[in-house]
């Protein structure tokens, strides 16, 4: 096939400049690729390419630094918000954000996350909640739904045996230092647009020195859930969203 010349005026969509050409390791249907794209677009649109530092977690997005062309620090499991705290305090001119999953953020990193928010650190956390440890092979996480089957809850999550899931975003909304807490998704084009707006608002919030922002993205892990990408989206809508309802939870300014 002959190469088609694309005229600038006809170009309506393209890969964000900050997304590298590296082949992503994410499974087809996974939400990470979409959220990476939104993060890259917002950084570009805000003109912060040269002043952004991401902190990647342990989990599926451990290699986020391969895909978004900014400086990155790879944190130990759960410690991203502590790492980001210092990176931001020592370089207040930079946009510093963490990108974490539910195992990293709500299990092993709950302490670091909550205290960074409580202190009102001017950082942003992008929180991908797919209710499962994806990279490790589909074990139960703190946000795994009751009855949900995982590698460590093969007969479904039983509260007597495995405890209850918790809504860390709602908990964090009680903290004075956390000023913007929102829960989004990326399973439809409309949801993607809303999620991008939320990421932009969070990044602006942090650059304005208005404390801590959390963008939770209710996401799919079709491989871990053992569903097709389409079925995973449907399952998420029917099961995850009622437990983790979408929309802004808190949007305010730091108390005086």
């Amino acid at each position: 096939m002959a190469e088609v010349e694309i005229k600038a005026e006809n170009l309506v969509y393209g890969k964000p400049r900050l997304i590298t050409d590296e082949v992503m390791h994410y499974c087809p249907g996974c939400s990470h690729g979409t959220v990476h794209k939104l993060v890259a677009e917002v950084i570009e649109e805000m003109g912060l390419e040269g002043a952004s530092v991401g902190v990647s977690p342990v989990g599926c997005s451990v290699f986020a630094y391969r895909y978004i062309d900014i400086d990155w620090i790879e944190a130990a499991h759960g410690r991203a918000c502590a790492v980001a705290t210092a990176a931001k305090r020592l370089n207040p001119q930079n946009l510093v954000f963490t990108y974490q999953g539910d195992g990293d953020l709500a299990a092993i990193g709950a302490g670091e996350t909550i205290h960074a928010a409580a202190r009102g650190e001017n950082i942003v956390t992008i929180f991908i909640n797919n209710a499962i440890y994806g990279m490790t092979g589909g074990q139960m996480s703190p946000t795994t739904l009751l009855g949900m089957k995982t590698a460590t809850t093969p007969y479904g999550r039983d509260p007597q045996l495995n405890g209850f899931p918790y809504k860390i975003a709602d908990m964090m909304a009680h903290l004075d230092g956390a000023t913007y807490i929102t829960r989004q998704s990326v399973h439809t084009p409309a949801a993607v647009r809303k999620c991008k707006k939320a990421i932009r608002k969070a990044f602006e919030n942090s650059m304005a020195g208005n404390g801590y922002s959390l963008v939770e993205v209710v996401a799919t892990c079709n491989s871990g859930w053992k569903l097709s990408p389409v079925a995973a989206n449907k399952w998420m809508e029917e099961n995850m969203v009622p437990v983790y309802p979408l929309g802004d939870i808190k949007s305010t300014t730091l108390p005086k």
């Binding site: 040269g50 630094y65 620090i73 210092a86």
Partner: protein, 363 residues
């Protein structure tokens, strides 16, 4: 702040003053006895108003060492301090910092363990400091101060070595050195590096934000391909061999003609220097070799003394016998090597050490 000042200060307080004066960019800590005066002094000094240094009380030692990791990744001169149980919590972070080849300074004002143990002085963390602590093949550069002045001097030295080798450095003090007051000459105030100076020094690796730079800077210790991970390990090991070659530091007191050598570091060495005087008065030729760096360990001078025909070595430590293993490795069977120690926060006196030396080596 005046240029050069002579003060009477606690070892822990001096750490804080030395940090500000050497142009440290950030301190992240968590209170624990017997080292809490470090952060307390920094909070009193309010260096953010003078030099712009960041001081932050974290929610745990796990968090404070990861703050140090985040700060070090951006090329800043950052540090923390703690005591034994807190340093155990930092071990994961120290492994990551060493593996990511980042510079930082950690002060361990040791207390007696294991477990919650006691708040009294100990040297029970020699293994933890020198043989790993965290997982994997890495080393900290370990400095052992024996005076309040050395507490001061090793802050600057620790940072210099940490940046020279892009490796975490540790000041392994103990509750006695941290809590005792002595005369100290404070260094003149150095300005913190400007961002231009920082970029000149660390621009190739520090995650400062790309700015005009084309390539990304990424601080990570992850490499899933074994062939590449082995190469990274080999590079780190080559660095450690270089450190071992160049950076061993020690002090010899009356070792030249000594028949018996006491090897002791930190507060133990202070006590043992009096033992040497007592022994010499009795006509017993005893010398003291004081390792100043515990890693790299001063193997060569100990080896040389053994080759010269020293009749015996006594490793005197406030623990159950840790450094003695390194002394034995250096002596390589050429002479008897014994250990004397006390634990649980108890100290020996110079006479105890002399009695043990006679009992174990002079027969």
């Amino acid at each position: 702040m005046a240029d050069k000042e002579v003060k009477l200060m606690k070892g822990n307080e001096v750490i804080a003053h030395a940090a500000v004066r050497c142009g440290c960019d950030g301190y992240f800590g968590y209170p624990i006895t017997p080292q809490s005066e470090v952060m307390e002094t920094l909070m009193e000094l309010e260096p953010w108003k003078t030099t712009g240094m960041v001081v932050l009380q974290a929610e745990s030692e796990v968090s404070s060492i990861n703050m140090v990791y985040g700060g070090a990744a951006t090329g800043k001169k950052v540090m923390t301090s703690s005591s034994s149980p807190g340093v155990s919590l930092m071990s994961e972070g120290l492994s990551y910092i060493a593996a990511s080849e980042l510079p930082c300074l950690v002060v361990n004002c040791q207390r007696g363990g294991p477990g919650l143990g006691t708040i009294q002085p100990s040297q029970g963390d020699y293994f933890q400091a020198c043989k790993g602590g965290g997982h994997g093949d890495y080393h900290l550069i370990v400095l052992a101060p024996a005076s309040v002045q050395e507490m001061h001097d090793f802050v600057g030295l620790g940072f210099d070595l940490a940046f020279k080798y892009r490796n975490p450095a540790m000041i392994l003090a103990d509750g006695a050195i941290g809590q005792m007051m002595e005369k100290v000459v404070l260094a003149p105030q150095q300005p913190r590096r400007t961002q231009e100076e920082l970029l000149a020094q660390c621009g190739k690796w520090a995650t400062t934000g790309k700015g005009e730079r084309k390539e990304q800077n990424i601080c990570t210790s992850l490499e899933l391909q074994s062939e590449l991970m082995e190469k990274i390990n080999e590079r780190m090991q080559a660095k450690y061999r270089e450190i071992e070659q160049n950076e061993a530091r020690w002090e010899e007191i009356e070792c030249e003609d000594a028949d018996y050598i006491i090897v002791a570091f930190g507060s133990s060495a202070r006590i043992c220097s009096a033992t040497v005087e007592m022994a010499r008065k009795e006509g017993l030729k005893v010398g003291l070799l004081r390792p100043i760096t515990l890693y790299p360990f001063p193997t060569k001078p100990i080896e040389a003394l053994a080759e010269r025909g020293v009749k015996g070595f006594l490793s005197v430590e406030l623990n159950a016998g840790q450094m003695v293993e390194d002394v034995r490795l250096a002596v390589e069977g050429k002479a008897p090597v014994k250990h004397y120690g006390r634990m649980g926060g108890m100290m020996f006196n110079p006479q105890d050490v002399l009695d043990e030396l006679k009992d174990k080596l002079v027969k």
